[in-house]
Amino acid sequence: MIEKVLVANRGEIAVRVMRSCREMGIVSVAVYSEVDEASMHVRYADEAYYIGPAPSAESYLNMEKILEVAKQCEADAIHPGYGFLSENATFSQKCRDAGVIFIGPGPEAIRSMGDKITARKNMIAAGVPVVPGTTEPISDDSKAMEVIREVGLPVMIKASAGGGGKGMRLVKEEAEVAGAIRMARSEAATSFGDDSVYIEKFIDSPHHIEFQILADNHGNVIHLFERECSVQRRYQKIVEETPSPLITPDVREAMGEAAVAAAKAVNYSGAGTIEFIVDDDQNYYFLEMNTRLQVEHPITERVVGVDLVKEMIRIAQGDQLWLKQDDLNQDGHAIECRIYAEDPDNNFMPSPGRIAHITEPKGLGVRCDGYIYKGYEIPIYYDPLISKLVCWSRTREGAIARMKRALYEYKITGVKTNIRFLERIMDCPAFKEGKYNTQFIEKNQQCLMGPQENDPQNEDRAIMVIFADYLRKLDKFETKVVAREGTADWKVTGRKKNLFN
């Protein structure tokens, strides 16, 4: 039985993991860097330990220090959240060696999914469709040309150790092949210390659809249906929803089975996500597996009615899955919007700073998983994600309406956020009709980035409030400092009560 969990993370996900710990009666332990002393995960945790300076490499990525704290405070297990050490096979191995349970898959599964070529091979062996291309690292250019002629241009050259767009090159013409391979190889070597690259057919304007799976240590694997994640900006998801408005029940079932097969092929354990790219005709191809909890897991939790963190902990302590595939169904529709501290009017530059005021949306069908609070200073060192706003309704239309209502209620001052930009997504016809793919943001610039119209009435109201605030300050100042030196004109004016009935 796991009785104490160290959460090797910060921000909203650390708080979210600790909430489930608390519901399970598990003691939660926070670790924090120098700038996170007053961060919400430290406030929320039962225990909290300092692990180093602000830069992640010296704190949240410091495996030795985190394990030292885990041993010292006698934590049974470590939950890595997402990002940081969550997909680090070495850390998973070190936890095992130290006798601390890593709440996630073992190092073998992380490694076999982390290397894209190995993963492709495993998937092909398990009968999971992959994007046409090579199954081995490219040895020389002529071999590459052979493959390219087979699958047809355009193709992507990708780094085997890659992720997040690095070490990737799009090739549209044969003349570009040699150069693209050279550049991808060099970037891959620099970024990942491994220059292996491979070729995949380029699928234009695909959909990005992922399946959530849960696998226990006893060979049981279930999937919890899909998440549609095609609303992306620079490979960064912004809005996710489930069910996907694209796929039909048949395709859903087949993809779910493929996801389960994919997890089984690598003896997976824990919560994981199989990412597929899907074309307009619903042909789907395995893209990669995220061997951790996803940012967007709450939409699955809402529609399937499962607490994924609790299931991860149960699996990690050796329990059999108590949920069977047949117990699960998708109930209604859920959408997630990611709220970032960034400036949509200035190329989405991160906007760290102090929160002057915050009002979070509430009420029926709304879940807001955040971590900031009034007066909190968002540090410059980490992800600008502020919170995840999840709305549910019986219907997709109802969920969009609710999301709009929730975004309307959401007020953050002190840092710039993408809240109004998200509202524009909800209002965009392509989104409302559910007819969008990964090109959504690019294709709908006009609808999403339309210029603000001037509103003189709104200006006048702002001016009046500023004026009132200024008068209030004078009022206060007068009372405090220069009181009893005579009464200002405006106060005399204020006393002419008869003018107001």
């Binding site: 005021h357 200006e459 109201r461 702002a462 004026f467 008068l471 209030r472 400092v481 220069v482 204020g494």
Partner: protein, 169 residues
Amino acid sequence: MNALEISLDNRTANVKLLEREGNRFLITVDDNEYDAHIIMVEQGVYLLLMDGKSYNIELIEAGGPKKYYVNTYRYSYDAEIIDAETRYQKSRHSDHGDDDSVISSPMPGKVVRILVKEGDQVKAGDTVIVVAAMKMESEYKVKKDRIIKEIKVREEDTVDAHQPLVVIE
């Protein structure tokens, strides 16, 4: 204080308080007259009730009590109160970034704090003296590295407009 200018992004509006009773204000903004309830519901969070409509407007002080960042529902603005003191400061800032040899206040007031002694070496941007005028404290700074030559007043002194306070060189 019933009339001043407020700048909002590129606009500068004339604002005038006609009447006030508690939270109720009769205000003109340029040529428009408004009768509004303006209630501070939380620190920096205002509720404006006018013609039956309810508006939420949030203010953040942006470097000093007269500069604001204003959030309305769909628009955000940078705003500044332009009163006599601000205008004076602005006019001073416009003259090639140099200091006058005598620091003074454009309005009558009271010396709150003197932060230097005669003979002190001060750096560009240092505050020399703080005067409470127009019911707000104003800091008077030097724009370049200077030496304090003479201090002509003491803390708590009441001073006239343009009376020499501190002589610098």
